[in-house]
């Protein structure tokens, strides 16, 4: 029954806010907590460089909002929901943290969102891929920025099927993320007139993909789809290249690939692979300018997660300024009411389920000839509009959506 109470309270509170009652910044400070994996598997996605992105956002915003200062605290989530929930609990109950940013592992994001819900604070999740975060695990206290498995499957799979890749063979990482990606891909492929002729679930993590690549080749499918992430994907791509998968005519489609993964592979190995991304550093003047500043600060080019952390923080601060409050529901509502068109997102909008939907991009990895430097890795093929990308609210299992 606490859930009902929370929903009612926030509904009442938002109405009060809208009518201009009591707006204030708690403790005269806006405190942001940055929580991410700093030392483990997901370190390169958000990690310490994500904190740099956050700091850039605060600096670019002016360092203060409505005359009150902005503070950051940060911690390593150790990929552990236990540790993260302790940290965030302490942050919101004892240290007046107003907003929690970052977060990559799904177990961490979900655990933290529950704590934020209990304490009515705000979370902006930028690193996680799980679409369940705005589906069955949605709460009125968090926003899922940047991406999730739904648009990734939608973008890449539909594009590849339309180009002629009718039959698919999937290599799926055998855990919830992989299964979810696989089912999203199946749905899209079949909806576009294609067929999934086979799928293998491989353990997470797997180092040697030769056996799976062999089975994919034997299937004769047009497309070999990689429903996995990180080292699994890079290992699979390396092996596919070694066994001549693309040379013998099959297309390789990677469903979740980050700039850092492609950078690790290099254009030589990864050339021609199609993927969907939420953002790329070299898309236009705006992105380039920001990425140069990011590179000056960190020494590497930013991933879409880094850019998302920057953008979401600025949007957050703008909302705090507009409402004069750092109350979670007030700010969230303001953010939902404000369209997002900035360096990171075009046609961006935050929905009731907390999902930030925005245009996604179909990209292809450049050939070594096309790639002028170590980070010059993608060419953007086309834009996938926001409405086509994300899970429609009509299919949502989120409790905030009246279905």
């Amino acid at each position: 029954m606490t859930m009902m109470k929370k929903l009612l309270t926030s509904a009442v509170a938002s109405t009060l806010m809208a009518s201009g009652a009591q707006a204030a910044i708690s403790n005269d400070t806006v405190k942001i907590g940055y929580l991410a994996d700093m030392s483990g598997t997901y370190r390169d996605l958000a990690g310490p460089n994500g904190q740099s992105a956050l700091e850039m956002a605060i600096a670019d915003f002016g360092g203060s909002v409505k005359g009150k200062k902005i503070e950051i605290v940060s911690a390593d989530d150790r990929n552990s929901p236990d540790t993260s929930s302790s940290t965030v609990r302490r942050w919101v109950e004892n240290e007046n943290v107003d907003m929690v940013a970052g977060m990559v592992a799904s177990s961490v994001s979900i655990a933290v969102s529950k704590i934020l819900e209990e304490n009515d604070k705000l979370g902006i999740i930028s690193g996680s891929a799980a679409s369940s975060i705005t589906n069955e695990h949605c709460t009125p206290n968090h926003i899922h920025y940047v991406y999730d498995t739904y648009p990734l499957a939608n973008g890449t799979a539909s594009a590849v099927v339309k180009e002629g890749g009718k039959t698919w063979y999937l290599l799926t990482a055998d855990y919830a993320f992989g299964h979810s990606l696989e089912s999203d891909v199946r749905r899209v492929v079949e909806a576009n007139g294609g067929e999934v002729v086979g799928a293998i679930r491989h353990p997470f993590p797997t180092q040697d993909f030769s056996s799976f690549v062999l089975q994919a080749q034997a299937s004769g499918a047009d497309v070999v789809g990689l429903a996995n992430a990180g080292a699994d994907t890079t290992n699979a791509i390396t092996t596919a290249s070694e066994f001549g998968v693309t040379q013998s005519g099959q297309t390789l489609a990677a469903l979740l690939l980050f700039l850092t993964d492609v950078h690790a592979l290099g254009a030589q190995t990864a050339q021609g692979i199609q993927l969907t991304t939420g953002w790329y550093w070299d898309m236009n003047e705006e992105t380039r300018e920001w990425s140069d500043r990011f590179m000056d600060k960190t020494g590497v080019r930013p991933t879409m997660v880094h850019a998302g952390i920057y953008s979401s923080t600025i949007q957050y601060l703008k909302a705090v300024e507009a409402t004069g409050s750092d109350d979670a529901q007030t700010v969230r509502k303001q953010m939902m009411d404000t369209p997002i068109n900035d360096m990171f997102a075009k046609n961006g909008k935050i929905r009731i389920d907390g999902r930030m939907v925005h245009d996604m991009y179909l990209a292809e990895v450049k050939t070594p000839a096309e790639s002028k430097n170590e980070w010059d890795l993608y060419k953007i093929l086309r834009t996938i509009p926001a409405e086509e990308s994300y899970r429609p609210l009509s299919e949502s299992k989120c409790k905030l959506v009246k279905n």
Partner: protein, 295 residues
Amino acid sequence: MSMIFGVPLAVLSGQLLIGIINGAFYALLSLGLAVIFGLLKIINFAHGAMYMLGAMVTVLMFNALGVNYWVALFMAPLLVGAFGVVIEYFLLRRIAGQDHIYSLLLTFGVALIIQGVLINWFGVSGLRYTMPDMFKGGINLGFMFMPYYRAWVIVAALLVCFGTWFVIEKTKLGAYLRAGTEDSQLMQGFGINVPLLISLTYGFGVALAAFAGVLAAPIYSVTPVMGSTTLIVVFAVVVIGGMGSIGGAIITGILMGVIEGLTKTFYPPASSAVIFLVMVLVLMFRPSGLFGKEA
């Protein structure tokens, strides 16, 4: 097309060959562990980290000094082996003769340090390493496409395995090693510098892991965490084979590669768990492993 359990014969043959290749790789990795435990009674939980160092050093040497693959095949194991000697001399020596468990815990700690430091310096996404030109491409065997590099892996791994087994079991040097570690006082009485021999043996064992790392660099992502999951698989192989047995580690490595390969064909999700199932079953019926000596 003929089928076995619903799998076409051609596919099965391909999988078996892959299984043997992977098995040779496991054998090479387990070899170092078996040498270190069999001769020195040290449980080297840093073995995965040494494998990883072999790969990392290969890539770094290439990036910084343009060292090519063939030179790396010798240099990387040499460098990592030297590092191993340092670890033995400064750390492991102090707990020599005590319960094996302490060597496990000590090397576990060492592995954590090495891995943690490298993650901070290089991130987790991995370093780029391209296949040496002479190995690019492969040959179509009819039932599968066989990359030249994989053929090289199996040859190199088996050569090194056989060579090591031969030296330890069949030569005078090997005899001194085995005697020196069993009864060091007697051997020292004969004028043999046993402590040096011990350091060099540990160094050699980890050099074997590093050699496997060099072999891995062109085909697997080179990251600071690449040794972490490989470690427990390799331990499983050595335990199944019998912890003191060098020949046992080699044979079991190949066997496990094949079993894993078959699992990847018939029930892929279990392919990383199957080795543990085998371990439990084997140890139920043969408490010291398939070829083990201790009771």
